[in-house]
Every structure is written in structure tokens, then in C-alpha cells.
């Protein structure tokens, strides 16, 4: 089961079993955003509080496989308290980590993404790198990050309006 050990690193199983930042935030002031993985029905729900360009609080709900839920938990821990710009850099870096394989699977053009990885500390998140060997699961890992991106875009649009 060596391939499996790569996919299911201990730290991933830990986040899966004991997810960080589970819960809800009052909406508003928090912003609510949801995402689905159409393949497997995984669901990520994100409550996002953004103030003065900082992600002041994050809570998560939803259900899904170990990869999607661990990724959600790790994401919430990584961005909570961070400036929005840092969170966006993390999104880009994480997607770059996943994208070499994802682009092959979905047929998107390959572009050089290494720039997105430079200077960003992924920390625990790097444990998710084993996912790229299992192309179908990449969507499980990226779901939370797509939801975060959508949430940040929407709060930015709101604060402009």
C-alpha cells in the first residue's frame, strides 16, 4: 500500500479526524460560500470574515472524503488571521502544486506555474502533494481552495459596492 501511504499521510488523516475551525459564523457580517465536487458530491461550506484586508475569522462545514475535508481543515488553519493578499498567494501556490497533473487530466494548456510557488511557505499543506499521483482526487484537494477564492472575490466585490 505504498501509493496509499503517499496519499493518506498521517497529517492528512489527522486533519480529517479532527478538523480545525469547524462551525458557523453569523451571516452577515460573515460571508457564506459553498462548493460541490460534482464527481463525488463532496461539499465544502465556508464562513469567511474579512476586515480591512485581513481574513479575521474562518469556519467550515460540509462533508466529504478525507482528502476534501482535510484540505478544508488545513486551508482554514493556513489562512485564518492572514492578510487577504497572503491568502491569495497561498491559493495560487496550492493550485500550482496540484496543477501539473490537473492540467493533464483536464486537457488545459500547461503553463509555467513554478513562479506561483516561489516564496510561499506551504508548510503542512505540502502533505497533500501525494494527491497528484491520483488525478481524480485532485479535485477533492482543490475544492476548498476554489471555494475560498470565490469567497474572497465576492467579499472584495461587496466591499467595493
Amino acid at each position: 500500500m505504498s501509493g496509499l501511504q503517499d496519499l493518506y499521510r498521517e497529517i492528512i488523516l489527522d486533519h480529517y479526524r479532527a478538523p480545525r475551525n469547524r462551525g458557523e459564523l453569523p451571516v452577515p457580517p460573515a460571508h457564506l460560500v459553498e462548493g460541490f465536487n460534482p464527481l463525488c458530491g463532496d461539499e465544502v461550506v465556508l464562513y469567511l470574515e474579512v476586515e480591512d484586508g485581513v481574513v479575521t475569522d474562518v469556519k467550515t462545514a460540509g462533508q466529504g472524503c478525507s482528502i476534501s475535508q482535510a484540505s478544508t481543515s488545513m486551508m482554514s488553519a493556513a489562512v485564518k488571521g492572514k492578510p487577504v493578499d497572503d491568502a491569495r498567494a497561498l491559493i495560487r501556490a496550492f493550485k500550482a502544486l496540484m496543477s501539473i497533473h490537473e492540467s493533464k487530466l483536464e486537457g488545459a494548456e500547461e503553463t509555467d506555474l513554478s513562479a506561483d510557488l516561489e516564496g510561499v511557505r506551504l508548510g503542512d499543506l505540502e502533505a497533500l502533494q501525494g494527491v497528484v499521483k491520483f488525478p481524480v482526487r485532485i479535485k477533492c484537494a482543490t475544492l476548498a481552495w476554489n471555494v475560498l477564492q470565490q469567497g474572497l472575490d465576492e467579499t472584495a466585490a461587496e466591499s467595493e459596492a
Binding site: 500500500m1 496519499l7 493518506y8 463525488c40 458530491g41 463532496d42 466529504g64 472524503c65 478525507s66 482526487r137
Partner: protein
């Protein structure tokens, strides 16, 4: 192959007909348990398609030269085979489509748009596959029809207590003959009789039933039956709509183009006869021939034998799962195999369906995890996904045993 009167299948012999079963995954033999999603293909089907390309390939219905005649004859012979396979007596009643999904959309775009108006009622059930849900949602958005849902019981049968109320004033009952999630076999003939009494037309999603049991569209007394080749041991890329000739005659065309016309001017067009009226453009030629070869193969086994095999193997697997995992594993659907096809959906209390599927793949066991294109049903079950094992004619008890062993490994892997 077995004769139609034999009731047990010589699975070892059958397996030898399926080239892919010789392959290994992670050093383990391939245990393919996802036939409800798409079935593997026997040599006879692959050979029939290959032969067309190597010997008689040409566009159909268009050339007078020899190979065009041969291709056309093979294509239309396949239509006749498919018609007979489901008990249709008129092969003009078989419209070749890409898949069952297109067959249902054809009915939604052509028949329903011509016959249903705002407020008209369509009755579906909570067991339906998205293919028999979303076309009606699209129609509702466009036309404002009303959709009513037949609820399900705790063991995922149809709950028919309120059926007459649901059917009251309905124009269409669109129902699966067998759930692709729980295997639940639906009493189509009984439901169709009640739908007819209420004045409704009847569409049957035969995707799972047609490959697994003897089907007679007239015994069902249906108006429309949709099914796909790829679940029937045939190639993907082709499926069929069966519909009563008089309905097809009266329906407006769906897609426009070559083949479906009798005449075209700058001012308009005249449609062709059925079934070609609904087959715009160049069809899936080799695939039709492959589908014909697939029904030949199944008919040589005998659909009674296929059904007996599915039932016996499903019962064996249900028992083996219960023995090994007890309450830790929830198995959905009717309790015994008599009322279900060769499909078993299940869920460990603590392990997500997706993760289970991943771990058992390591053992060469292919099972599907997800919502199985039946999200309304998933919501009824109260889960986002299940793991599903499903059986074909090439599966045997050793495959069910392999599943149980692989699941035990998954359970151990995710144990806290």
C-alpha cells in the same frame, strides 16, 4: 456460451470472452464491480466493430456502392436486433441516440414540448438518475410544468400509498425500472397501468433493467423506453429510444440535419420517415453494429439466466457483507435479492465512500464512490455519497469475496 434454458452461468467460460479481465491492477487481478456504471465488452462485440472498419466501412443510407450497402445493411440489422431484444415488434420504433440520456432528452424536447403546457404535471420518483430528472427541470424552467415526486420507503422501494393523488391530472410518468443506486426493481407494469388509468403517458428509464433482466416493452405497456448500449456489454457512444410508432410519427423532429429530412428548400423542410426523422447526421455506425452484437451475446446466454445469475450473486454478496461487517456497514435497498438487481450500495459508518473506493482499488477491486448521478436520492438517504459494487455476467463469487476482503483492508486502514 449457455443455451437459453440453462439457468446457471458458466462464468469461467464467460470471463474468457472479456479481454480486459486478463489485466492486472497493482499486481492484482482486475475485479471489475462497476458494471452499473458501464459494462466491459466481450470479444464478439469488439470483433464486430473491428470487422466493419476493416471490411465494410462507409456512411450509411447514402451510397449505392457495395460497401455502403453492406454498412447500411449491418446498421439496420442491428436496429432489428435491438428491437427484438426488448420485445418490440416494429424496428422503426428504435431510434438510435448517443445514450439513454439523449433518448430521454429527445422525449423532453420533442414529445413534451409539443404536448405539455404550463401547469401540466410530470411524475418522477426519488429513485431517478439525473438523466431522468434534469431534462424535466429544464422543461420546467422553460414551460412551467409541475414535477411531482413519488417518495420512497425506508428500504428504498417506491412508496405507492399516495400514487393516485400524484398521478391525478398527470400527463407523464417517467420512472426507472431499476435503481442504479439501490438496485430496487420497480413494478413498471403495475405503475404503467395506474398511470394510464390516470391518462398519463409512461416513460421508462431502462438503463439498468434492460441489461439485467428480460424486458418486454409491451408487457410493461410503456410509451417510451430509454437505454444505453454501454451498460449492455456494447460500446459507449450509442443508445436507444424505443417509442410507439404512432407517437414517433406524431412527434416533431428534435435535431435537424442530413438523414432526418425528406426535402429541404430555402423555405423549409419535410421530415423523413421514422425512425430516421430523429437521427440527424452521420450516426455511430460501428457502435450500432457493436450494440447488435452485444444483444446477440446476451440473448445467447438468455436473459432469464442473466437475471438468475445476478440474483444469486447479489444474495451471496449481501450475505457475505452482513456476515463480515455487521452493523458497521450500512447496505441500502430492499433486504433480499429477489427485489433488486445486481447493484449494492453501502457505507461504513466512519469512512467516506471515496476513500473506501481508493483503498480497494489498491487490491484490484473496481467499485464506484459518489452520488451515482442520483443526488435527490442521496438527499433521501441523508448521505453525500455511497460506495457501490455492481455485477455483470462475468462476475462470480470469487469477485464478491475479493470485495469483502478489500473492504476489510479499508476498514483496517482507516481505523483510528
Amino acid at each position: 456460451m449457455m443455451s437459453a434454458t440453462t439457468s446457471t452461468l458458466d462464468v469461467a467460460r464467460i470471463q474468457a470472452d472479456f479481454p480486459i479481465l486478463a489485466r492486472t491492477v497493482n499486481g492484482k487481478r482486475l475485479v471489475y464491480l462497476d458494471s452499473a456504471s458501464s459494462a466491459q465488452k466481450p470479444e464478439a462485440v469488439l470483433a464486430a466493430m473491428d470487422r466493419i472498419y476493416r471490411e465494410s466501412y462507409a456512411n450509411v443510407h447514402r451510397g449505392v456502392y457495395t460497401i455502403a450497402e453492406e454498412a447500411t445493411a449491418a446498421f439496420e440489422a442491428a436496429r432489428t436486433k435491438v428491437a427484438r431484444f426488448i420485445g418490440a415488434t416494429d424496428s422503426r420504433e428504435i431510434v438510435f441516440t448517443r445514450n439513454a440520456t439523449e433518448a430521454i432528452n429527445l422525449v423532453a424536447y420533442s414529445w413534451a414540448r409539443a404536448n405539455l403546457r404550463e401547469g401540466d404535471v410530470i411524475v418522477l420518483s426519488h429513485l431517478e438518475h439525473h438523466a431522468n430528472v434534469v431534462p424535466w427541470h429544464i422543461l420546467r424552467q422553460e414551460r412551467g410544468v409541475e414535477i411531482r415526486w413519488i417518495p420512497i420507503t425506508a428500504d428504498q422501494r417506491l412508496d405507492l400509498d399516495g400514487l393516485d393523488d400524484l398521478l391525478d391530472g398527470a400527463k407523464l410518468l417517467a420512472i426507472t425500472a431499476m435503481s442504479n443506486v439501490t438496485g430496487t426493481i420497480v413494478d413498471v407494469a403495475g405503475l404503467a397501468a395506474r398511470a394510464r388509468a390516470a391518462g398519463a403517458h409512461v416513460l421508462v428509464d431502462g438503463c439498468q433493467a434492460v441489461p439485467q433482466m428480460p424486458v418486454d416493452v409491451h408487457a410493461w405497456d410503456a410509451d417510451f423506453v430509454a437505454f444505453s448500449s454501454h451498460k449492455l456489454l456494447g460500446p459507449a457512444g450509442i443508445g436507444a429510444l424505443w417509442a410507439r410508432a404512432e407517437l414517433l410519427e406524431a412527434m416533431p423532429p428534435f435535431m435537424g440535419g442530413g438523414e432526418m429530412i425528406r426535402d429541404v428548400t430555402t423555405e423549409g423542410f419535410l421530415p423523413n420517415d421514422i425512425p430516421w426523422k430523429f437521427e440527424a447526421g452521420t450516426p455511430a455506425i460501428a457502435e450500432a453494429v457493436g450494440m447488435g452484437a452485444a444483444v446477440d451475446y446476451l440473448q445467447a446466454i438468455g436473459m432469464d439466466t442473466v437475471r438468475a445469475h445476478e440474483r444469486a450473486l447479489t444474495q451471496y454478496a449481501l450475505d457475505a457483507l452482513a456476515d463480515r461487517f455487521g452493523d458497521r456497514l450500512t447496505v441500502y435497498g430492499p433486504a433480499g435479492a429477489d427485489d433488486r438487481g445486481g447493484v449494492i450500495s453501502f457505507l461504513f459508518d466512519e469512512i467516506h465512500a471515496h476513500d473506501v473506493s481508493q483503498v480497494v482499488d489498491e487490491e484490484g477491486v473496481c467499485v464506484r464512490a459518489g452520488h451515482h448521478c442520483a443526488k435527490p436520492l442521496m438527499r433521501q438517504l441523508g448521505v453525500p455519497a455511497t460506495t457501490r459494487a455492481s455485477f455483470g455476467v462475468y462476475n462470480d463469487r470469487a469477485d464478491a469475496d475479493a470485495l469483502v476482503e478489500a473492504l476489510a483492508k479499508a476498514e483496517a486502514f482507516f481505523a483510528i
